[in-house]
Symmetry: none
Subunit: 242 residues, 2 copies
DNA sequence: GTGATTTGTCACAAAATTGTCATCTTATTT
DNA sequence: AAATAAGATGACAATTTTGTGACAAATCAC
């Protein structure tokens, strides 16, 4: 499945440039030169993201953004605005229109793709309702329950009581078990992008999660990777040795 | 091995100035006055970096940059654009052309070489999440685990416990195995460039790395190249013979 | 509303990591 | 073989990172 980006930009040179760089990053660009064209295209394919020039003929980028936000179907699509440096003061009105990020021209390709990826990453985390089992734990997002098996037979178990955040944290870590995430990554993916929150807060939630898991004898499932972050793993961690 | 920089600049005075400064920094300049010349040169020698004036006769710098990006062979070569300040402020300014950085004229020699080095350095540290195996070791950046196999069958192994720096050091050396790096290079690549750390500190970290590897019988993987630096190799080193 | 629960932050404790030194070893040169 | 240079090694203090309990604000349930 490919990720499509609707590029709304009237200047052909910049359009080409953006197209080129998106393709290089494995994204699929769909281009429109003005708001009218873009509106038509949106009716065909729902893009995963809109890259929108601030200055557009006829309708301003701002106006188009508002239009997107008004429609239920397009409401959730993230928008990145392209603006010239001088226009930057209008940032506030752009925010009101619901842009998720800004890129000021001139920009480097690196910056372009970095921002796009950041915004895409921040999207509501994939809420899969799949039941996940690992390390003697079973998490069921649909019923919002976590069971801790007492032994290998699946007969005896305890239910684990978690707060909302602890639940999401455990769910995320279990869904990507073995993989290490930094505190910032966890904040981005679990808390969302309103990151006014300290990195260290993650520690505290990890701590709370661990505390609950300890009560059902599921220690060491949530492991610290010093200097990096945390990981869910049913394997023993080298850091746990003494 | 010398690092070559293709300088595309029509004004002889500036060309000379740049040439002079590049040489002084140990880089090898190749000069061209226009895009046509530059195209020919590129066919002869692939430069490590292109320093490109924005304003060129016949073909604009932007156009030449695009041309480079279109060709697979030259696609990855970093480009630094030279632009007058007035052009930069201009909306149409084409830094977006796929340049990796830009320098506004007038510039100081110090800035010139600093930018070049920064861009060149950025080239390599693409730390991918790829699993690397070599010499009976397996390093997995995603899970942040290092396994040492006990024998050739991949069945038995020990996990190796490394501190953050040791991990990065091992990862870097394994990612470029067989290749020798000086202490300064290692400091630049692993610690970052703005550090004011003694060269000797690298020795200590190498030592720590070795110590851990010895515990799992993986001696001689990190080898000393006397008078130069260190290298990761699964081959025996000539220095280890007696 | 009231009381329970959840949440983010802080302060302090505990633990691990890191850079530097002084001192040995080992190689290279003279 | 002595002198010199380069690297190895162990110790150590400073710094950084993480763990942990407490607390107040915010939220939720009723």
């Amino acid at each position: 499945m490919s990720i499509t980006v609707l590029v709304v930009e009237d200047e052909p040179a910049i359009q080409d440039l953006i197209s080129y760089n998106l393709k290089k990053s494995g994204l699929t660009p769909i281009c429109a030169s003005n708001a009218e064209q873009a509106t038509v295209m949106i009716n065909n394919v729902l893009p995963d993201l809109v890259l929108l020039d601030w200055m557009l003929p006829n309708m301003s980028g701002l106006e188009f953004a508002r239009q997107l936000r008004r429609n239920t179907r397009t409401q959730v699509i993230p928008i990145i605005m392209l603006t010239a440096r001088i226009e930057l003061e209008d940032k506030i009105s752009g925010l009101e229109a619901g842009a998720d990020d800004y890129i000021t021209k001139p920009f480097s390709p690196r910056e372009l793709t970095a921002r796009i990826k950041a915004v895409l990453r921040r999207r509501i985390p994939e809420i899969s309702d799949e039941i996940i089992e690992a390390g003697g734990l079973r998490i069921d997002p649909a019923t919002h329950r976590v069971l801790a098996y007492c032994d290998d037979s699946c007969s005896k178990y305890n239910e684990v009581k978690l707060g909302p955040t602890e639940f999401r944290l455990l769910h995320f870590l279990m869904a990507h078990k073995e993989r290490v995430y930094t505190r910032t990554q966890l904040l981005d993916r679990i808390w969302g992008d309103h990151v006014f929150i300290e990195d260290r807060t993650v520690d505290v939630h990890i701590r709370r999660l661990r505390k609950v898991l300890e009560k059902v004898n599921k220690d060491n499932l949530v492991q610290t990777v010093r200097g990096t972050g945390y990981r869910f793993s049913s394997e023993k961690s080298a850091y746990d040795e003494e």
